[in-house]
Symmetry: C2
């Protein structure tokens, strides 16, 4: 039997991380209350499970797990952090899909949470997932060193909040309603906040858990930023040329809404060129970590993100 | 000059905590991004400030500050924790007021956030405040011991989330739409989650910051639970007999909505009796802390909460 190619190894590890994350999320979102919780209301729990289980490539969890693995760390620390990050990602999808925001009916080929439940439950399920993410990270089960847990909480909050993902969504909505096109710099800032910050946190988390030195942490962070930017351009390209069935969400809506994307500003060809340059930038940053071939799977992740079809 | 009465001392300390919290929130919600934040979008920041500044008695911050003071601790640790707690409280008001939830136009005598801004901005401002709360607590500026910061994050998340405040709001909405009246036990659970958990966290936080022993922590926690229950009954009484101008929010809406309250179940007189018993329970728990007269101000807080007119 031949040794697996890097692409095969990547697929295998992506699937393994997805399965581990699914199982861990399922256990965290069980019926029984944790100590200090009074009760877990059934319908709210069901909506939180609906929003976070059974879907998605689990790219962010994969990045946490694989970046921690560079430092020889596996087990509960990266996995629980991966779950927390995925909860934040999933809550953001639930809130972004709401009628007052992007007003989407379809997500991952299923009705969005406010369609499957109701709007109030969707808002609360999002709030619940966001809150639970910090619970999971701060719990001693995540790491024996409270300094690591507190650092993870701080980095996650900063990536997810006003100066990161939530702020990026606010800028996105403002751009849609403003009518005037955004500059390239404004688009890059918006995307670095809206999608880049969480992807970057994924690898920053691996560095925090792994006890990276400053050079390694900086290189990984630049890898995460470049991967995040490539991811967003690929997303915009998919929306422009994709079909709804393959995406599992409605395609073509960016142009319809006059959404600020690099595809809209530069055209498809220039966007593809930029996306490919970002993949090279991500791979180059990985080389600076000094981990050599151990980073091959993360390099493949950057190529995968750029080339994905859904 | 005579020594101030306990009631005067309480008023003075409540005002002092409110002013300190207002100033600290104002500084935290400044224009300049923190390290790791990419940018602070102006309109979102404005909405977060609107939702958290300039209003409220700041009872929760007071409870954090005063419970920490029992242990001789003042300064940044209790004040920043108080700000985080108040951010969570304020985000919950913003989301609860949304059209899909309680659909309220008036809060603290001002338009609710989704009326003053728009629904999408209100949702995001709530998300931003919730997220920032954990940022503030996890930041090394809050406490030099990461174990204390991680413990605060965990306790806050557990009080605010699925098994606490968010879950309580979900139960409340379910009770309204079910039509059938809740049992007394169900109402007590709902209220312990929806409003009790955060009030209890306030004093638990003081115990965590102060390094309380198990007996002190348990006594303070029971004080917080009793105070929270008294607070909620007082709230229900105010809604039943209050007027909109004094409340700064619409009165009489509980009965209108068939909302599950002890006033509705037991009547006003029995509710008042229960409220007063809870105040006694709170005061008795304080005695068990062994702090003697140092707890007088917290005892007065329990009486104040029960007797408040808005």
């Amino acid at each position: 039997m031949n040794a697996p190619t890097i692409a095969e190894d990547f697929r295998r590890r992506l699937n393994a991380a997805a399965q581990a994350t699914e199982a861990a999320l399922d256990a965290l979102l069980a019926t029984a209350p944790l100590p200090g919780e009074i009760a877990r209301p059934a319908r709210l729990l069901e909506a939180m499970r609906y929003a976070s289980l059974g879907g998605g490539k689990r790219l962010r969890p994969f990045l946490v797990v694989e970046s921690a693995r560079l430092f020889g760390v596996s087990g509960a620390s990266p996995l629980r952090t991966a779950c927390a990050l995925e909860m934040i990602h999933c809550y953001s999808l639930v809130h972004d899909d709401l009628p007052a925001m992007d007003d989407d009916d379809l997500r991952r080929g299923r009705p969005t949470a406010h369609k499957a439940f109701d709007e109030a439950t969707a808002i609360l399920a999002g709030d619940g997932l966001l809150t639970f993410a910090f619970d999971v990270v701060a719990d001693p089960a995540t790491h024996k060193d409270a300094g690591v847990r507190a650092a993870l909480v701080l980095a996650l909050a900063r990536a997810a909040g006003l100066g990161g993902m939530v702020g990026g969504q606010a800028l996105d909505l403002a751009a849609e309603s403003a009518g005037a096109p955004l500059s390239q710099d404004a688009i890059l800032t918006l995307q670095a906040m809206k999608t880049g910050a969480l992807l970057r946190f994924a690898v920053d988390a691996g560095a925090i858990i792994g006890g990276a030195d400053a050079v390694q942490a900086d290189a990984l962070s630049r890898y995460g930023a470049a991967l995040g930017a490539a991811f967003q351009i690929a997303d915009d390209i998919l929306d422009a040329e994709g079909d709804t069935a393959a995406l599992g969400k409605r395609a073509g809506k960016d142009a319809e809404r006059g959404k600020a994307t690099l595809v809209g500003l530069l055209g498809l060809d220039a966007a593809r060129t930029r996306r490919d340059a970002l993949v090279e930038e991500a791979v180059a940053a990985l080389r600076e970590t000094g981990f050599g071939a151990a980073t091959d799977v993360l390099a493949e992740a950057a190529r995968f993100v750029a080339a994905r079809r859904n």
